[in-house]
Symmetry: C2
Subunit: 311 residues, 2 copies
């Protein structure tokens, strides 16, 4: 079943210990939709500028991603420059140019309205809420955010979170959002803000899901214990950019490909999230995410299973 994703389609300049690149296709919605496209149909809502070329468009077309919701505006696309050096888990932002994203007013094509899944990638929570409100018929809403929105746009973010079913953020963001340093108490606080499930990403250590009531149809009274999915210990991380968005794409894409959201589906989705994140960092930019096979994905899923399974 189709996912509509709203978020940035952008260009990045990135430097890592393994090398660097200039103004390559990137953005949360790009990584998310590439990762999710291996599991289900994906439709993108975003805005790009005149620097978005036919070659960039082809990256989406090859993966059969619906881009009718990508608006082409005058000016330049969103641009981000960052570097990873001492700590591969944290980027140092060198430059952020909103460009055409500064005046972005998301428009949802009519053809997207039968999407059962909606993912609100990391953008201004006001825009996230506008898209969420414009798609009242979706069955499940996933979302992401970041420190900047948590710190400086909390009121708007809380309004958005009230309409998000599954929130995916990292450890630091969870503690910041909850204003609580204990990871379990912080997760419980976040679940009180609207989300029925919270996936806390731990970078190289994987991710933990916490569950509130009502996330699994027909089990509203049952308490669901947390679930931990691993990340793969990697001998080389070429470029961490997009790992979180690729995790979200694999996670939400797998859920959208299944008939019903059960605890087992959620757990496998966490593993597929880790799998897609592990591929993303193996090459610069979106390179690895463009040309995967289902066989490669299933082999790595088996490796993740072996990494954690007792029996």
């Amino acid at each position: 079943m189709a996912i509509t994703v709203v978020g940035s389609v952008a260009f990045d300049s990135v430097s890592t210990p393994s090398g660097s690149y200039e103004r390559q296709l990137a953005g949360a919605a790009t990584y998310f939709s590439l990762a999710a496209s291996y599991f289900t149909d994906v439709r993108v809502v975003a805005v790009v500028g005149e620097d978005f070329t036919a070659k960039d468009q082809a990256v989406f077309d090859v993966r059969k991603i619906d881009t009718r919701g990508i608006e082409h505006a005058q000016g330049k696309s969103f641009f981000w420059a960052g570097s990873y050096h001492d700590n591969l888990n944290e980027a140092k932002t060198l430059q952020t140019d909103l460009n055409v994203f500064g005046s972005f007013a998301p428009k949802i094509p009519d053809a997207y309205q039968d999407s059962q899944f909606l993912f609100l990638a990391n953008i201004d929570p006001v825009l996230q809420k506008r898209v969420r409100d414009a798609m009242p018929h979706v069955k499940l809403v996933g979302g992401d955010t970041m420190n900047y929105w948590i710190n400086d746009h909390r009121e708007n973010l809380l309004k958005t979170l009230a309409g998000v079913d599954i929130l995916l953020i990292n450890d630091t963001e969870t503690k910041l959002l909850a204003e609580n340093k204990n990871p379990v108490k912080a997760a419980q606080d976040v679940l009180g803000m609207g989300p029925k499930a919270l996936v806390v990403k731990h970078g190289e250590y994987g991710a933990t899901a916490f569950f509130g009531k009502g996330i699994f149809p027909g089990t509203s009274d049952k308490v669901h214990h947390p679930f931990r999915a691993p990340a793969l210990p990697l001998a080389e991380v070429v470029d961490p950019t997009g790992a979180g968005d690729s995790f979200a794409g694999g996670f939400f894409g797998y859920i959208a490909s299944q008939v019903e959201l059960t605890p087992a589906v959620f757990r496998r989705a966490m593993f597929y999230g880790g799998v897609m994140g592990s591929f993303a960092v193996e090459r610069f930019g979106t390179e690895r995410m463009q040309h995967l096979t289902r066989d490669e994905i299933e082999s790595r899923f088996a490796l993740f299973r072996e990494l954690t399974h007792l029996d």
Copy 2:
């Protein structure tokens, strides 16, 4: 089958956000032997001073831990004072008094010589090696160390590591020992120093085991992929002191209780390590480790399994 453990039996003064205590029984060998005592027979080699009371002795006696190898010397026992505040994963050392440990010359009681398992808890690697050499018949040797020995006693430590089968250290220690920041490459380097298996502890995120050749009898040519065990997300950590030593005790104790070291036994041992570590931090000092039941341990093991298992 019996484990002999050599390490510190000490007194700690500790302050955490949950409270504080003064000069309570502690030390790596104490935590280790309490945790291991739920799985197998444990024999301790250590030295204590005149401040070690009948009440302290009773803590070992209740758990049927053999203390004939604990020497009673004139003076005071090893003393450590530390606090945990901003970061529960890292203690700030306020005071270390070696006291009777300063001139410790480990003596192995004859009755310990049929031990098939030996654990070298975190002490001077020269002493670790002396004990290891004095027990040539043991079947499996586990060991621990810390930054201080890695930085300032590397030569001695490398001689000790050549005789250790399973080394348990944390992320920082692994990278420091290997002088390599990548966790996978660092692990491979450490496996080149002698250990046939390396268990890297990640604090609140669990632990990862890396395997070299020859760790599992009869499978010397097979490549064994890493294994990740979780830690339990805890709503309250009262006192992190002894978590690592309790992990080691649960881990090594379970291995010693089994007929043969297989990959499945190793994996379950990692889970039992996490289980004992999670109990240790629930109360101040050794309190929780003194009065567990096998039922409590098995219930928590089931929780760990549920936390990570797909199916």
